[in-house]
Protein backbone atom coordinates (compact mmCIF):
# COMPACT_ATOMS: atom_id res chain seq x y z
CA UNK A 1 0.00 0.00 0.00
CA UNK A 2 1.64 3.17 -1.01
CA UNK A 3 -0.07 5.19 1.63
CA UNK A 4 1.89 8.24 2.60
CA UNK A 5 3.02 8.19 6.21
CA UNK A 6 3.07 11.92 6.68
CA UNK A 7 1.83 14.67 4.43
CA UNK A 8 2.15 18.41 4.85
CA UNK A 9 -0.15 20.23 2.48
CA UNK A 10 0.26 23.97 2.01
CA UNK A 11 1.25 24.31 5.61
CA UNK A 12 1.84 27.77 7.00
CA UNK A 13 2.74 28.52 10.58
CA UNK A 14 2.53 32.00 11.96
CA UNK A 15 3.38 32.78 15.55
CA UNK A 16 1.90 35.48 17.76
CA UNK A 17 3.76 38.65 16.98
CA UNK A 18 3.59 38.02 13.28
CA UNK A 19 6.62 35.89 12.52
CA UNK A 20 5.93 33.47 9.72
CA UNK A 21 7.96 30.37 10.49
CA UNK A 22 6.74 28.28 7.56
CA UNK A 23 5.14 29.60 4.42
CA UNK A 24 3.01 27.35 2.26
CA UNK A 25 5.14 24.24 2.47
CA UNK A 26 4.05 21.00 0.85
CA UNK A 27 6.04 17.95 1.69
CA UNK A 28 5.18 14.29 1.93
CA UNK A 29 7.03 11.29 3.31
CA UNK A 30 6.55 7.82 1.93
CA UNK A 31 8.01 5.50 4.49
CA UNK A 32 7.96 2.54 2.16
CA UNK A 33 11.12 3.80 0.53
CA UNK A 34 13.21 4.68 3.53
CA UNK A 35 15.82 7.34 2.91
CA UNK A 36 17.58 10.03 4.87
CA UNK A 37 16.27 13.48 4.07
CA UNK A 38 18.10 16.52 5.37
CA UNK A 39 16.18 19.67 6.19
CA UNK A 40 18.81 22.37 6.20
CA UNK A 41 18.69 26.05 6.96
CA UNK A 42 19.99 28.80 9.18
CA UNK A 43 18.27 29.90 12.35
CA UNK A 44 14.93 31.41 11.45
CA UNK A 45 14.53 29.15 8.44
CA UNK A 46 11.68 27.21 10.02
CA UNK A 47 13.40 23.86 10.11
CA UNK A 48 12.79 23.24 13.80
CA UNK A 49 9.17 24.32 13.39
CA UNK A 50 8.83 21.79 10.60
CA UNK A 51 10.16 19.11 12.91
CA UNK A 52 7.84 20.04 15.76
CA UNK A 53 4.83 20.11 13.47
CA UNK A 54 5.68 16.71 12.07
CA UNK A 55 5.70 15.41 15.61
CA UNK A 56 2.31 16.86 16.31
CA UNK A 57 3.53 19.37 18.87
CA UNK A 58 2.46 22.42 16.90
CA UNK A 59 -0.63 22.95 14.80
CA UNK A 60 -0.52 24.70 11.45
CA UNK A 61 -2.05 28.17 11.08
CA UNK A 62 -3.11 27.21 7.56
CA UNK A 63 -2.98 24.01 5.57
CA UNK A 64 -3.18 20.46 6.89
CA UNK A 65 -0.92 17.77 8.19
CA UNK A 66 -2.07 14.24 7.52
CA UNK A 67 -0.96 11.02 9.08
CA UNK A 68 -1.81 8.06 6.87
CA UNK A 69 -4.52 10.08 5.25
CA UNK A 70 -6.10 11.32 8.47
CA UNK A 71 -5.81 14.85 9.81
CA UNK A 72 -3.21 14.85 12.60
CA UNK A 73 -5.22 17.08 14.91
CA UNK A 74 -8.26 14.86 14.63
CA UNK A 75 -6.87 11.48 15.58
CA UNK A 76 -8.66 9.42 18.17
CA UNK A 77 -6.76 8.05 21.13
CA UNK A 78 -5.88 4.73 19.52
CA UNK A 79 -4.70 6.36 16.33
CA UNK A 80 -2.70 8.81 18.38
CA UNK A 81 -0.88 6.01 20.14
CA UNK A 82 -0.13 4.43 16.80
CA UNK A 83 1.20 7.75 15.57
CA UNK A 84 3.47 8.06 18.54
CA UNK A 85 4.83 4.62 17.95
CA UNK A 86 5.51 5.24 14.29
CA UNK A 87 6.95 8.74 14.46
CA UNK A 88 9.76 9.30 16.95
CA UNK A 89 12.47 11.86 17.56
CA UNK A 90 15.98 12.56 18.72
CA UNK A 91 16.73 16.05 19.92
CA UNK A 92 19.64 18.43 19.97
CA UNK A 93 20.59 18.53 23.62
CA UNK A 94 21.77 15.12 24.76
CA UNK A 95 21.36 16.05 28.40
CA UNK A 96 18.02 17.83 28.46
CA UNK A 97 16.00 14.89 27.18
CA UNK A 98 16.76 12.90 30.30
CA UNK A 99 14.79 13.54 33.45
CA UNK A 100 17.62 14.16 35.94
CA UNK A 101 15.67 12.48 38.70
CA UNK A 102 15.65 9.05 37.10
CA UNK A 103 18.29 6.65 35.85
CA UNK A 104 18.77 6.61 32.12
CA UNK A 105 16.83 3.35 31.82
CA UNK A 106 13.70 5.40 32.43
CA UNK A 107 13.82 6.78 28.92
CA UNK A 108 13.36 3.31 27.48
CA UNK A 109 11.30 1.67 30.20
CA UNK A 110 8.48 4.17 29.91
CA UNK A 111 7.67 3.67 26.23
CA UNK A 112 8.04 -0.11 26.52
CA UNK A 113 5.39 -0.01 29.22
CA UNK A 114 3.14 2.55 27.56
CA UNK A 115 3.21 0.89 24.17
CA UNK A 116 3.00 -2.57 25.70
CA UNK A 117 6.02 -3.80 23.88
CA UNK A 118 7.14 -6.45 26.36
CA UNK A 119 5.21 -8.86 28.52
CA UNK A 120 7.58 -8.87 31.47
CA UNK A 121 10.60 -7.12 32.92
CA UNK A 122 13.06 -9.66 31.58
CA UNK A 123 11.84 -9.24 28.04
CA UNK A 124 11.96 -5.50 28.40
CA UNK A 125 15.52 -5.64 29.66
CA UNK A 126 16.55 -7.81 26.75
CA UNK A 127 15.03 -5.38 24.28
CA UNK A 128 16.87 -2.51 25.87
CA UNK A 129 20.18 -4.32 25.80
CA UNK A 130 19.74 -5.29 22.17
CA UNK A 131 19.03 -1.74 21.19
CA UNK A 132 22.06 -0.43 23.06
CA UNK A 133 24.37 -2.95 21.44
CA UNK A 134 23.01 -1.99 18.02
CA UNK A 135 24.26 1.54 18.45
CA UNK A 136 27.60 0.49 19.83
CA UNK A 137 26.98 0.98 23.53
CA UNK A 138 27.64 -1.57 26.25
CA UNK A 139 24.62 -2.23 28.51
CA UNK A 140 26.79 -2.74 31.57
CA UNK A 141 28.36 0.68 31.09
CA UNK A 142 25.13 2.53 30.56
CA UNK A 143 22.06 0.97 32.17
CA UNK A 144 21.64 1.80 35.82
CA UNK A 145 23.50 5.10 35.54
CA UNK A 146 22.24 8.62 35.97
CA UNK A 147 22.38 11.06 33.05
CA UNK A 148 25.16 13.14 34.53
CA UNK A 149 27.32 10.06 34.85
CA UNK A 150 27.48 9.53 31.10
CA UNK A 151 29.21 11.53 28.42
CA UNK A 152 27.35 13.61 25.85
CA UNK A 153 28.15 11.17 23.07
CA UNK A 154 26.88 8.24 25.11
CA UNK A 155 23.68 10.04 25.99
CA UNK A 156 22.96 10.89 22.41
CA UNK A 157 23.63 7.35 21.30
CA UNK A 158 21.31 6.10 23.98
CA UNK A 159 18.63 8.43 22.67
CA UNK A 160 19.14 6.77 19.30
CA UNK A 161 18.96 3.35 20.94
CA UNK A 162 15.63 4.35 22.40
CA UNK A 163 14.41 5.44 18.98
CA UNK A 164 15.57 2.17 17.47
CA UNK A 165 13.88 0.19 20.21
CA UNK A 166 10.52 1.63 19.27
CA UNK A 167 10.95 0.61 15.64
CA UNK A 168 9.34 3.77 14.28
CA UNK A 169 8.86 4.31 10.59
CA UNK A 170 9.95 7.89 10.71
CA UNK A 171 12.65 9.38 12.93
CA UNK A 172 12.92 13.13 13.24
CA UNK A 173 16.47 13.99 14.24
CA UNK A 174 16.65 17.66 15.22
CA UNK A 175 20.30 18.73 15.17
CA UNK A 176 21.46 15.48 16.77
CA UNK A 177 25.17 16.23 16.48
CA UNK A 178 25.42 19.97 16.93
CA UNK A 179 26.00 19.70 20.67
CA UNK A 180 28.29 16.71 20.35
CA UNK A 181 32.05 16.96 19.97
CA UNK A 182 33.54 16.68 16.50
CA UNK A 183 35.26 13.40 17.26
CA UNK A 184 31.99 11.73 18.20
CA UNK A 185 29.85 13.01 15.38
CA UNK A 186 30.84 10.32 12.94
CA UNK A 187 29.76 7.62 15.40
CA UNK A 188 26.34 9.13 15.83
CA UNK A 189 25.86 9.73 12.14
CA UNK A 190 26.87 6.17 11.55
CA UNK A 191 24.17 5.04 13.95
CA UNK A 192 21.60 7.12 12.06
CA UNK A 193 22.77 5.59 8.81
CA UNK A 194 22.44 2.14 10.29
CA UNK A 195 18.91 2.87 11.45
CA UNK A 196 18.06 3.73 7.90
CA UNK A 197 19.90 1.02 5.99
CA UNK A 198 19.46 -1.93 8.34
CA UNK A 199 16.15 -1.15 9.97
CA UNK A 200 14.39 0.67 7.18
CA UNK A 201 13.65 3.83 9.16
CA UNK A 202 13.14 7.05 7.24
CA UNK A 203 15.17 9.80 8.85
CA UNK A 204 14.40 13.49 8.69
CA UNK A 205 17.75 15.05 9.56
CA UNK A 206 17.30 18.67 10.62
CA UNK A 207 20.51 20.67 10.71
CA UNK A 208 22.28 23.91 9.94
CA UNK A 209 25.52 22.09 9.18
CA UNK A 210 25.69 21.24 5.50
CA UNK A 211 28.84 19.15 5.83
CA UNK A 212 27.14 16.58 8.06
CA UNK A 213 23.98 16.82 5.95
CA UNK A 214 26.08 15.84 2.96
CA UNK A 215 27.81 13.13 4.90
CA UNK A 216 24.72 11.25 5.94
CA UNK A 217 21.72 12.12 3.76
CA UNK A 218 20.41 11.06 0.39
CA UNK A 219 18.23 14.10 -0.17
CA UNK A 220 18.19 17.64 1.07
CA UNK A 221 15.69 20.44 1.48
CA UNK A 222 17.09 23.96 1.82
CA UNK A 223 14.85 26.29 3.80
CA UNK A 224 15.16 30.05 4.04
CA UNK A 225 12.77 32.10 6.16
CA UNK A 226 10.03 29.52 5.91
CA UNK A 227 10.21 28.77 2.20
CA UNK A 228 11.88 26.04 0.23
CA UNK A 229 14.71 27.41 -1.88
CA UNK A 230 16.06 24.23 -3.33
CA UNK A 231 15.36 20.53 -2.79
CA UNK A 232 16.38 17.16 -4.14
CA UNK A 233 19.38 14.92 -4.53
CA UNK A 234 22.12 15.91 -2.10
CA UNK A 235 25.14 15.33 -4.38
CA UNK A 236 23.73 17.57 -7.11
CA UNK A 237 22.79 20.33 -4.73
CA UNK A 238 26.00 20.44 -2.72
CA UNK A 239 28.34 20.09 -5.67
CA UNK A 240 26.38 22.22 -8.09
CA UNK A 241 23.89 24.48 -6.34
CA UNK A 242 21.53 26.32 -8.63
CA UNK A 243 19.62 28.62 -6.33
CA UNK A 244 21.52 31.83 -5.46
CA UNK A 245 20.85 31.31 -1.76
CA UNK A 246 22.19 27.78 -1.84
CA UNK A 247 25.23 29.05 -3.69
CA UNK A 248 25.85 31.65 -1.00
CA UNK A 249 25.39 29.06 1.71
CA UNK A 250 27.63 26.45 0.23
CA UNK A 251 30.27 28.95 -0.69
CA UNK A 252 30.42 30.09 2.93
CA UNK A 253 30.85 26.66 4.46
CA UNK A 254 34.25 26.06 5.93
CA UNK A 255 35.09 22.61 4.62
CA UNK A 256 37.70 20.72 6.63
CA UNK A 257 39.62 20.39 3.42
CA UNK A 258 42.71 22.46 2.73
CA UNK A 259 42.02 22.44 -0.98
CA UNK A 260 38.69 24.18 -0.73
CA UNK A 261 38.99 27.73 0.42
CA UNK A 262 35.79 29.25 1.60
CA UNK A 263 34.39 32.25 -0.11
CA UNK A 264 36.10 31.44 -3.38
CA UNK A 265 32.96 30.71 -5.38
CA UNK A 266 30.79 33.43 -4.03
CA UNK A 267 29.81 36.17 -6.37
CA UNK A 268 27.13 37.67 -4.17
CA UNK A 269 26.92 40.79 -2.12
CA UNK A 270 27.25 39.81 1.52
CA UNK A 271 24.72 42.10 3.03
CA UNK A 272 22.83 41.67 6.25
CA UNK A 273 19.33 40.28 6.69
CA UNK A 274 16.70 42.19 4.89
CA UNK A 275 13.11 42.16 6.11
CA UNK A 276 11.73 44.66 3.66
CA UNK A 277 8.25 44.46 2.23
CA UNK A 278 9.60 43.15 -1.04
CA UNK A 279 10.88 39.92 0.41
CA UNK A 280 7.79 39.36 2.50
CA UNK A 281 5.50 39.35 -0.48
CA UNK A 282 7.74 37.95 -3.18
CA UNK A 283 10.74 35.67 -3.08
CA UNK A 284 12.19 35.61 0.45
CA UNK A 285 15.72 36.05 -0.83
CA UNK A 286 14.92 39.04 -3.01
CA UNK A 287 16.54 41.52 -0.64
CA UNK A 288 19.95 39.86 -0.81
CA UNK A 289 19.99 38.25 -4.22
CA UNK A 290 22.53 39.48 -6.77
CA UNK A 291 20.29 38.32 -9.61
CA UNK A 292 17.11 39.93 -8.35
CA UNK A 293 14.56 40.97 -10.95
CA UNK A 294 11.32 42.94 -10.66
CA UNK A 295 9.14 39.88 -10.79
CA UNK A 296 10.94 38.44 -7.76
CA UNK A 297 9.44 41.14 -5.56
CA UNK A 298 5.89 40.49 -6.61
CA UNK A 299 5.21 36.81 -5.99
CA UNK A 300 7.24 33.87 -4.70
CA UNK A 301 8.55 31.67 -7.51
CA UNK A 302 7.29 28.12 -7.90
CA UNK A 303 9.66 25.16 -7.83
CA UNK A 304 11.32 24.77 -11.20
CA UNK A 305 13.46 21.96 -12.58
CA UNK A 306 16.68 23.73 -13.62
CA UNK A 307 18.37 20.70 -15.15
CA UNK A 308 18.11 16.97 -15.59
CA UNK A 309 19.19 16.19 -12.08
CA UNK A 310 16.77 15.16 -9.40
CA UNK A 311 16.26 18.55 -7.82
CA UNK A 312 14.20 21.68 -7.96
CA UNK A 313 14.86 25.33 -7.18
CA UNK A 314 12.46 28.12 -6.40
CA UNK A 315 13.92 30.88 -8.55
CA UNK A 316 12.70 32.92 -11.52
CA UNK A 317 16.09 32.44 -13.17
CA UNK A 318 14.62 29.17 -14.37
CA UNK A 319 11.16 30.34 -15.32
CA UNK A 320 11.46 28.87 -18.77
CA UNK A 321 11.73 25.37 -17.27
CA UNK A 322 9.14 22.93 -16.05
CA UNK A 323 7.45 23.32 -12.71
CA UNK A 324 7.22 20.58 -10.12
CA UNK A 325 3.67 19.28 -10.19
CA UNK A 326 1.69 19.78 -6.98
CA UNK A 327 4.63 21.63 -5.45
CA UNK A 328 5.23 18.57 -3.28
CA UNK A 329 8.98 18.14 -2.90
CA UNK A 330 8.32 14.79 -1.28
CA UNK A 331 7.97 13.24 -4.71
CA UNK A 332 11.67 13.85 -5.28
CA UNK A 333 12.60 11.85 -2.24
CA UNK A 334 11.24 8.52 -3.30
CA UNK A 335 14.34 6.42 -3.42
CA UNK A 336 14.78 3.72 -5.99
CA UNK A 337 15.88 1.36 -3.24
CA UNK A 338 13.64 -1.54 -2.38
CA UNK A 339 12.23 -1.37 1.12
CA UNK A 340 14.18 -3.55 3.53
CA UNK A 341 12.03 -6.25 5.10
CA UNK A 342 11.64 -5.57 8.81
Amino acid sequence: MSELLLELKNVTKQFKGGTVALDNISFSIDANNPSIIAVAGESGSGKTTLGLMSLGFLEPSAGRIKYKGKDLSKLNSQERTEFRKEVQAVFQDPFAVYNPFYKVDHIMEVPIANFKMASNKKEAREMMEQALISVGLRPEETLGRFPHQMSGGQRQRMALARALLLRPRLLIADEPVSMVDASLRATILEALDKLNKEFGITVLYITHDLTTAYHVSDYILILYRGSIMEAGDVESIIRNPQHPYTQLLIGSIPWPDLDRIWGEDIAVIDIEEDHSEASRVGCKFAGRCPHVMDKCKVAPPPLYWPDDNNRVASCYLFDNKEVLPGEDVGTLFRSKKVAVSR
Binding site: L55, K85, F91, A96, N99, P100, V110, P111, N114
Partner: protein, 303 residues
Protein backbone atom coordinates in the same frame (compact mmCIF):
# COMPACT_ATOMS: atom_id res chain seq x y z
CA UNK B 1 26.34 4.01 52.22
CA UNK B 2 28.22 6.16 49.76
CA UNK B 3 25.20 8.41 49.45
CA UNK B 4 25.08 8.82 53.22
CA UNK B 5 28.75 9.73 53.32
CA UNK B 6 28.36 12.26 50.54
CA UNK B 7 25.33 13.73 52.31
CA UNK B 8 27.23 14.10 55.56
CA UNK B 9 30.13 15.75 53.77
CA UNK B 10 27.69 18.09 52.12
CA UNK B 11 26.21 18.96 55.49
CA UNK B 12 29.61 20.00 56.70
CA UNK B 13 29.66 22.68 54.04
CA UNK B 14 26.04 23.69 54.38
CA UNK B 15 26.24 24.98 57.94
CA UNK B 16 22.78 26.51 57.97
CA UNK B 17 21.14 23.23 57.14
CA UNK B 18 23.38 21.38 59.57
CA UNK B 19 22.60 23.64 62.53
CA UNK B 20 18.92 23.80 61.62
CA UNK B 21 18.66 20.04 61.51
CA UNK B 22 20.60 19.88 64.76
CA UNK B 23 18.05 22.05 66.51
CA UNK B 24 15.29 19.95 65.01
CA UNK B 25 16.81 16.79 66.43
CA UNK B 26 17.21 18.48 69.80
CA UNK B 27 13.55 19.54 69.87
CA UNK B 28 12.40 16.10 68.83
CA UNK B 29 14.42 14.48 71.61
CA UNK B 30 13.19 17.08 74.07
CA UNK B 31 9.59 16.36 73.23
CA UNK B 32 9.93 12.60 73.10
CA UNK B 33 11.75 12.30 76.43
CA UNK B 34 9.44 14.89 77.89
CA UNK B 35 6.37 12.86 77.05
CA UNK B 36 7.91 9.93 78.84
CA UNK B 37 8.42 11.99 81.99
CA UNK B 38 5.29 14.03 82.33
CA UNK B 39 1.68 13.03 82.66
CA UNK B 40 0.26 14.72 79.57
CA UNK B 41 -3.26 14.91 80.92
CA UNK B 42 -2.31 16.59 84.18
CA UNK B 43 0.92 18.50 84.15
CA UNK B 44 0.35 21.07 81.46
CA UNK B 45 -3.04 22.00 82.86
CA UNK B 46 -4.10 24.20 85.78
CA UNK B 47 -3.78 22.92 89.33
CA UNK B 48 -1.11 20.42 88.42
CA UNK B 49 1.16 21.96 90.95
CA UNK B 50 1.55 24.91 93.29
CA UNK B 51 0.81 28.28 91.77
CA UNK B 52 3.45 30.79 90.84
CA UNK B 53 6.46 28.81 91.85
CA UNK B 54 9.74 29.87 90.31
CA UNK B 55 11.99 27.22 88.75
CA UNK B 56 13.22 24.96 91.48
CA UNK B 57 14.70 21.55 91.83
CA UNK B 58 13.29 20.96 95.19
CA UNK B 59 9.90 22.30 95.84
CA UNK B 60 8.76 22.79 99.36
CA UNK B 61 5.26 24.05 100.13
CA UNK B 62 5.29 27.05 102.40
CA UNK B 63 3.15 25.15 104.85
CA UNK B 64 6.00 22.79 105.64
CA UNK B 65 9.16 24.75 106.43
CA UNK B 66 11.33 21.70 106.77
CA UNK B 67 10.02 19.64 103.89
CA UNK B 68 9.54 16.60 106.05
CA UNK B 69 6.11 15.46 105.07
CA UNK B 70 6.13 16.28 101.44
CA UNK B 71 8.06 14.59 98.70
CA UNK B 72 10.51 16.94 97.08
CA UNK B 73 9.37 17.72 93.59
CA UNK B 74 11.24 19.47 90.93
CA UNK B 75 9.67 22.11 88.79
CA UNK B 76 12.55 22.86 86.54
CA UNK B 77 10.66 25.52 84.61
CA UNK B 78 8.53 26.56 87.54
CA UNK B 79 4.76 26.87 87.53
CA UNK B 80 2.42 29.57 86.38
CA UNK B 81 -0.22 31.47 88.29
CA UNK B 82 -2.79 28.74 87.70
CA UNK B 83 -0.54 25.93 88.75
CA UNK B 84 0.47 24.57 85.38
CA UNK B 85 3.79 22.81 85.41
CA UNK B 86 5.69 24.84 82.85
CA UNK B 87 7.92 21.93 81.93
CA UNK B 88 4.79 20.03 81.01
CA UNK B 89 3.60 23.07 79.09
CA UNK B 90 6.92 23.25 77.27
CA UNK B 91 6.77 19.62 76.21
CA UNK B 92 3.10 19.45 75.31
CA UNK B 93 2.96 22.95 73.92
CA UNK B 94 5.85 22.47 71.57
CA UNK B 95 4.27 19.40 70.09
CA UNK B 96 0.87 21.05 69.78
CA UNK B 97 2.25 24.13 68.13
CA UNK B 98 4.24 22.05 65.69
CA UNK B 99 1.12 19.98 65.02
CA UNK B 100 -0.76 23.10 64.04
CA UNK B 101 2.09 24.22 61.85
CA UNK B 102 2.46 20.87 60.13
CA UNK B 103 -1.24 20.41 59.56
CA UNK B 104 -1.72 23.83 58.09
CA UNK B 105 1.51 23.56 56.15
CA UNK B 106 0.77 20.17 54.65
CA UNK B 107 -2.83 20.95 53.74
CA UNK B 108 -1.77 24.29 52.35
CA UNK B 109 1.06 22.80 50.35
CA UNK B 110 -1.11 19.97 49.08
CA UNK B 111 -3.85 22.24 47.84
CA UNK B 112 -1.43 24.87 46.57
CA UNK B 113 0.76 22.36 44.77
CA UNK B 114 -2.20 20.70 43.11
CA UNK B 115 -3.52 24.03 41.89
CA UNK B 116 -0.07 25.18 40.83
CA UNK B 117 0.73 22.03 38.87
CA UNK B 118 -2.57 21.66 37.12
CA UNK B 119 -3.06 25.30 36.21
CA UNK B 120 0.46 25.65 34.82
CA UNK B 121 0.31 22.41 32.90
CA UNK B 122 -3.13 22.62 31.37
CA UNK B 123 -3.38 26.35 30.88
CA UNK B 124 -6.45 27.78 29.25
CA UNK B 125 -9.55 28.86 31.18
CA UNK B 126 -8.73 26.79 34.18
CA UNK B 127 -5.37 28.49 34.54
CA UNK B 128 -7.00 31.88 34.16
CA UNK B 129 -9.47 31.23 36.97
CA UNK B 130 -6.94 29.73 39.34
CA UNK B 131 -4.49 32.54 38.72
CA UNK B 132 -7.16 35.12 39.37
CA UNK B 133 -8.26 33.40 42.56
CA UNK B 134 -4.71 33.13 43.90
CA UNK B 135 -3.88 36.73 43.08
CA UNK B 136 -7.04 38.01 44.74
CA UNK B 137 -6.53 35.88 47.82
CA UNK B 138 -2.94 37.00 48.11
CA UNK B 139 -4.04 40.58 48.50
CA UNK B 140 -6.29 39.77 51.45
CA UNK B 141 -4.37 40.21 54.72
CA UNK B 142 -4.02 36.73 56.12
CA UNK B 143 -4.38 37.55 59.76
CA UNK B 144 -7.53 39.52 59.15
CA UNK B 145 -9.10 36.61 57.38
CA UNK B 146 -8.12 34.26 60.16
CA UNK B 147 -9.45 36.57 62.85
CA UNK B 148 -12.78 36.72 61.08
CA UNK B 149 -12.99 32.97 60.73
CA UNK B 150 -11.78 32.18 64.22
CA UNK B 151 -13.91 34.70 66.04
CA UNK B 152 -17.02 33.55 64.24
CA UNK B 153 -16.42 30.05 65.53
CA UNK B 154 -16.55 30.96 69.17
CA UNK B 155 -13.87 30.39 71.77
CA UNK B 156 -15.11 27.08 72.99
CA UNK B 157 -15.10 25.38 69.64
CA UNK B 158 -11.50 25.84 68.63
CA UNK B 159 -9.28 22.86 69.16
CA UNK B 160 -5.70 22.25 68.10
CA UNK B 161 -6.90 20.43 65.00
CA UNK B 162 -9.35 23.20 64.35
CA UNK B 163 -6.55 25.77 64.39
CA UNK B 164 -4.63 23.76 61.85
CA UNK B 165 -7.57 23.68 59.49
CA UNK B 166 -8.37 27.37 59.88
CA UNK B 167 -4.83 28.45 59.14
CA UNK B 168 -4.75 26.19 56.08
CA UNK B 169 -7.20 28.68 54.61
CA UNK B 170 -4.31 31.02 53.97
CA UNK B 171 -1.37 28.62 53.64
CA UNK B 172 -2.22 27.48 50.14
CA UNK B 173 -1.73 30.84 48.43
CA UNK B 174 2.05 31.14 48.41
CA UNK B 175 2.80 27.58 47.32
CA UNK B 176 0.23 27.80 44.52
CA UNK B 177 1.96 30.80 43.05
CA UNK B 178 5.54 29.59 43.45
CA UNK B 179 4.88 26.11 42.15
CA UNK B 180 2.88 27.39 39.20
CA UNK B 181 5.79 29.52 38.03
CA UNK B 182 8.24 26.65 38.46
CA UNK B 183 6.06 24.30 36.45
CA UNK B 184 5.59 26.88 33.70
CA UNK B 185 9.30 26.86 33.05
CA UNK B 186 9.63 23.09 33.47
CA UNK B 187 6.89 22.49 30.96
CA UNK B 188 9.17 23.61 28.15
CA UNK B 189 11.96 21.23 29.05
CA UNK B 190 13.03 18.61 26.56
CA UNK B 191 12.38 15.73 28.88
CA UNK B 192 8.74 16.70 29.05
CA UNK B 193 8.63 16.56 25.25
CA UNK B 194 10.34 13.20 25.44
CA UNK B 195 7.75 11.99 27.93
CA UNK B 196 5.03 12.95 25.46
CA UNK B 197 6.81 11.03 22.76
CA UNK B 198 6.89 8.11 25.14
CA UNK B 199 3.13 8.09 25.22
CA UNK B 200 2.64 9.72 28.62
CA UNK B 201 -0.49 11.66 29.37
CA UNK B 202 -0.85 14.93 31.25
CA UNK B 203 -1.28 13.61 34.78
CA UNK B 204 1.47 11.09 34.27
CA UNK B 205 3.85 13.81 33.20
CA UNK B 206 2.96 15.97 36.19
CA UNK B 207 3.37 13.28 38.80
CA UNK B 208 6.08 11.10 37.36
CA UNK B 209 8.23 13.53 35.45
CA UNK B 210 7.90 16.99 36.90
CA UNK B 211 7.09 16.50 40.54
CA UNK B 212 10.19 14.51 41.48
CA UNK B 213 12.33 17.34 40.17
CA UNK B 214 10.44 19.82 42.26
CA UNK B 215 11.06 18.07 45.55
CA UNK B 216 13.60 20.65 46.79
CA UNK B 217 11.14 23.44 45.99
CA UNK B 218 8.32 21.54 47.59
CA UNK B 219 10.47 21.01 50.64
CA UNK B 220 11.35 24.68 50.82
CA UNK B 221 7.70 25.60 50.30
CA UNK B 222 6.70 23.28 53.13
CA UNK B 223 9.18 24.87 55.49
CA UNK B 224 7.90 28.28 54.48
CA UNK B 225 4.30 27.26 54.88
CA UNK B 226 4.93 25.75 58.31
CA UNK B 227 6.77 28.86 59.45
CA UNK B 228 3.95 31.07 58.29
CA UNK B 229 1.40 28.81 59.92
CA UNK B 230 3.12 28.82 63.30
CA UNK B 231 3.46 32.55 63.03
CA UNK B 232 -0.24 32.90 62.26
CA UNK B 233 -1.19 30.61 65.11
CA UNK B 234 0.86 32.73 67.51
CA UNK B 235 -0.87 35.80 66.27
CA UNK B 236 -4.32 34.35 66.63
CA UNK B 237 -3.62 32.88 70.02
CA UNK B 238 -2.12 36.07 71.36
CA UNK B 239 -5.35 37.79 70.42
CA UNK B 240 -7.24 35.23 72.41
CA UNK B 241 -8.56 33.36 69.42
CA UNK B 242 -6.65 30.16 70.02
CA UNK B 243 -7.65 26.95 71.77
CA UNK B 244 -7.67 28.52 75.21
CA UNK B 245 -8.03 25.28 77.06
CA UNK B 246 -4.91 23.78 75.51
CA UNK B 247 -1.35 24.67 76.51
CA UNK B 248 -0.06 25.62 73.09
CA UNK B 249 2.83 28.05 73.11
CA UNK B 250 0.71 30.76 71.59
CA UNK B 251 -2.05 30.36 74.14
CA UNK B 252 0.50 30.37 76.93
CA UNK B 253 1.73 33.70 75.67
CA UNK B 254 -1.87 34.88 75.69
CA UNK B 255 -2.16 34.02 79.37
CA UNK B 256 1.17 35.65 80.07
CA UNK B 257 -0.16 38.89 78.64
CA UNK B 258 -3.64 38.47 80.06
CA UNK B 259 -2.39 37.75 83.58
CA UNK B 260 0.37 40.37 83.51
CA UNK B 261 2.98 37.77 84.28
CA UNK B 262 5.95 40.04 84.02
CA UNK B 263 4.42 42.73 86.16
CA UNK B 264 3.82 40.15 88.84
CA UNK B 265 7.43 39.05 88.70
CA UNK B 266 6.61 35.67 87.20
CA UNK B 267 9.29 36.08 84.53
CA UNK B 268 9.73 32.35 84.03
CA UNK B 269 6.17 32.03 82.82
CA UNK B 270 6.96 34.18 79.81
CA UNK B 271 10.52 33.03 79.30
CA UNK B 272 9.53 29.42 78.64
CA UNK B 273 7.18 29.88 75.65
CA UNK B 274 9.13 32.81 74.22
CA UNK B 275 12.39 30.90 74.39
CA UNK B 276 10.99 27.85 72.68
CA UNK B 277 9.22 29.85 69.98
CA UNK B 278 12.41 31.74 69.24
CA UNK B 279 14.28 28.45 68.95
CA UNK B 280 11.65 27.06 66.57
CA UNK B 281 11.80 30.08 64.30
CA UNK B 282 15.59 30.06 64.21
CA UNK B 283 15.47 26.38 63.28
CA UNK B 284 12.95 26.94 60.48
CA UNK B 285 14.90 29.88 59.16
CA UNK B 286 18.19 27.99 59.05
CA UNK B 287 16.58 24.98 57.39
CA UNK B 288 15.00 27.15 54.75
CA UNK B 289 18.31 28.83 53.93
CA UNK B 290 19.93 25.43 53.82
CA UNK B 291 17.26 24.05 51.49
CA UNK B 292 17.56 27.11 49.30
CA UNK B 293 21.14 26.13 48.67
CA UNK B 294 20.16 22.54 47.87
CA UNK B 295 17.53 23.69 45.39
CA UNK B 296 19.76 26.24 43.78
CA UNK B 297 23.21 24.73 43.21
CA UNK B 298 24.60 28.00 41.98
CA UNK B 299 24.43 29.35 45.49
CA UNK B 300 26.57 26.53 46.71
CA UNK B 301 29.88 27.56 48.12
CA UNK B 302 32.97 25.72 46.99
CA UNK B 303 35.01 23.79 49.50
Amino acid sequence: MERLQLSLRYLRRNTSLAIGLGILIFLVLFTVTGYMIIDPKVDPYPLAGPGSSPPTLNYCPRSDPECENTEPKAYIFGTDAQGRDLYGVAVAGTWMTVQIGLMAGIIGLGVGAFLGFTSAFYGGWYDLIVRWAVDVMLTVPGLLLLVVIASSMGEQRITVTGMGVIIAAISWRGPARVIRSQVLSMREQSYVMMARLNGMGGMGIIFREMMPNLLPYLGASLVGAVTAAIFASMGLAALGLGPLREPTLGVTIYWVINQSAFLRGLWWWGAVPIGIVALIFVMLFLISIGLDEVANPRVRRAE
